[in-house]
Symmetry: C3
Subunit: 260 residues, 3 copies
């Protein structure tokens, strides 16, 4: 049984170890797979995107446990979600937004599973790990609590828009990755050929490339990223740093004649 | 067989990989679980605390290998410890202090197990990994060397003190975590209700909370942390940074009437 | 089946997770072992050294997948290499240089294995993972593509030289590790006893030690590192930072009478 872990715990404290130890103790045959423990503290949107990019690559039946939980100890619910053959466990704070469509969503209410523990600050160890272990042990998800239809969703930016008449596409920067690529939510299929003129974060981008090595040094380009959306890249350096692009920035792309 | 790993090796060099490879080679059925490789270089106390917070969550029989070893190559001993149903392997430098009480402690003297290797700088790979692999392979711990009763212990700060007559509790900051929470060694059961007035690192804390989301922005509070001790927290920011609190700082808490 | 992972993906994005998920999906019985995901972006030489230091410690039959791939999407080849009983999969950019001697090297040409995916920026997930999974699944390496003898090799610095007549050894700093030790390519057997006088990065080193704890504070020394080569160390601090030593720096060591 594969279980993936996504947290904002960092890797210098005992939090990751205590989460793993509890899982191994309660579900001895689990195969733990770290996705990331370096989500910025409390950055629910970043965790959501990591899970959106990674979870679908796992085999059916995988359990994905994600704990970025600034509301730990409050009345926020805990979710168990079945979607596309995968199972997800996370706080009800929007983290699972990418998977809620066409999903079976349950509010976990099983105090009999929770561990006795001091304090209300580490539900990862004390509640989420036992919930995930129950799923790994074969407890049917519908036994974990009532089905709900009002799970919390992240407030999304306005979705990307394609105005074919005017030849203009607009969207948003949703992530800046380790290399400084600025990942957008604009489908790559909307931006097929030069000429293009993208405006984002005060910078102008006029090139469209298919891979990084093709870029001219110092000349930013749009490129098709690994999620199938457009990203802004610079060869061998951070496009986001060089062009002052940040997550949440709007991007406008003029296509065809407009871009000339 | 589960083996946990705690080191100060970082994750950019070949050290973690060589440690893991040696373990997998010598104990092919081992299930490796990373606790942390991001202990600050040589910070034995931090490794000790990570292990104290994480090891007890693992199933009985788990082997915990911890290598933070600034004395590598000296005559410092290597320990194998059986405590509370767990096994520990580490240098004799205080790292295993939390587990030495009521433990069976052995000084490992098995040069036949050690690997031939250049230099005296990487006993993690050349000695500790084979020792841990021997335990995983079923070698009884008492076959590893003589039992000892003088293992090195970390010089502890004065233990926390509760003066019920005066209504004053004193203790120490033992850790600052990723979120900037300042974890103390004061049992949470000693500090049950407001009014309180804590003095630590020059700052005053007058609130007692049960979870982070309850905190008012900018107002620090005491909270019951995941080890069952009091910690100082600030909502959405680092209490340690904002209040200039550091590991080793003393903390005094006045309770009841005194705190008004 | 053990598979090791070495990448420059970092641990904050979905890249590591998507690589692992694809591997687990295509090779369900794989045991994944992270070597490093913190190689500096595009630093092929660093990845090569991590693999050189770690891979030989693994059992025969291990598959080592390394993806540091600034040329992703170009016509650069993808390699599968059998060497010393291990299997390696990586882009043909020099990353596997340490293993090419006496190896069987194949240029992978199996588009039937590659995954359909948007874009040309994530061959780790879309091509390298399926190639590694094929090897894990028992596909003979020679079925992956034609054998070649012109794999790309890193441009090496001039090899270390020992001039016994003059008593002078010269070499190069090949790595600075987490502790700030400056690792060279000079075999430790060439530098057996004081007096010595090493010149590197403008600094002079006159001591030869066998372990770190033996060093006098503030006095740098040569020491035999874990690869069997000489490194420059300072007790409790970074020798590289204190002495302004960088990867690529030349080092000259005068031995015996010369060094007095």
């Amino acid at each position: 049984m594969v279980l993936t872990l996504t947290t904002d715990f960092g890797t210098s404290d005992w939090y990751v170890g205590a989460l793993k130890g509890t899982l191994v103790r309660l579900a001895p045959s689990v195969a733990l797979v770290d996705l990331s423990h370096d989500i910025a503290p409390g950055d629910v949107a970043a965790a959501s995107l990591v899970l959106a990019g990674a979870a679908p690559t796992f085999p059916l039946g995988t359990v994905h446990l994600a704990v970025v939980d600034p509301g730990v100890g409050t009345a926020r619910r805990m979710l168990a979600v079945a979607a596309s053959g995968h199972l997800f466990v996370a706080p009800d704070n929007g983290l699972l937004t990418p998977f809620l469509e066409h999903a079976s969503v349950y509010s976990v209410e099983r105090p009999d599973l929770y561990l006795d523990a001091p304090g209300q600050t580490f539900h990862g160890r004390d509640r989420f790990a036992p919930i995930a272990a129950a799923l790994l042990g074969g407890v049917p998800i519908e036994h974990l609590g009532p089905r709900i239809d009002d799970a919390t969703r992240l407030v999304a930016p306005p979705p990307p828009v394609r105005d074919d008449r005017r030849g203009v596409v607009t969207g948003n920067v949703v992530h800046v990755d380790r290399y400084g690529n600025a990942v957008t939510d604009i489908p790559a299929s909307w931006v097929r050929a030069e000429p293009i003129r993208a405006t984002v974060g005060g910078a102008q981008v006029a090139r469209l490339a298919t891979h990084y090595a093709e870029l001219e040094p110092g000349v930013p380009a749009l490129i098709v990223g690994s999620l199938g959306t457009v990203e802004i890249a610079l060869r061998g350096q951070s496009a986001a740093a060089a062009l002052a692009i940040r997550r949440g920035d709007a991007i406008t792309i003029e296509l065809g004649a407009l871009a000339r």
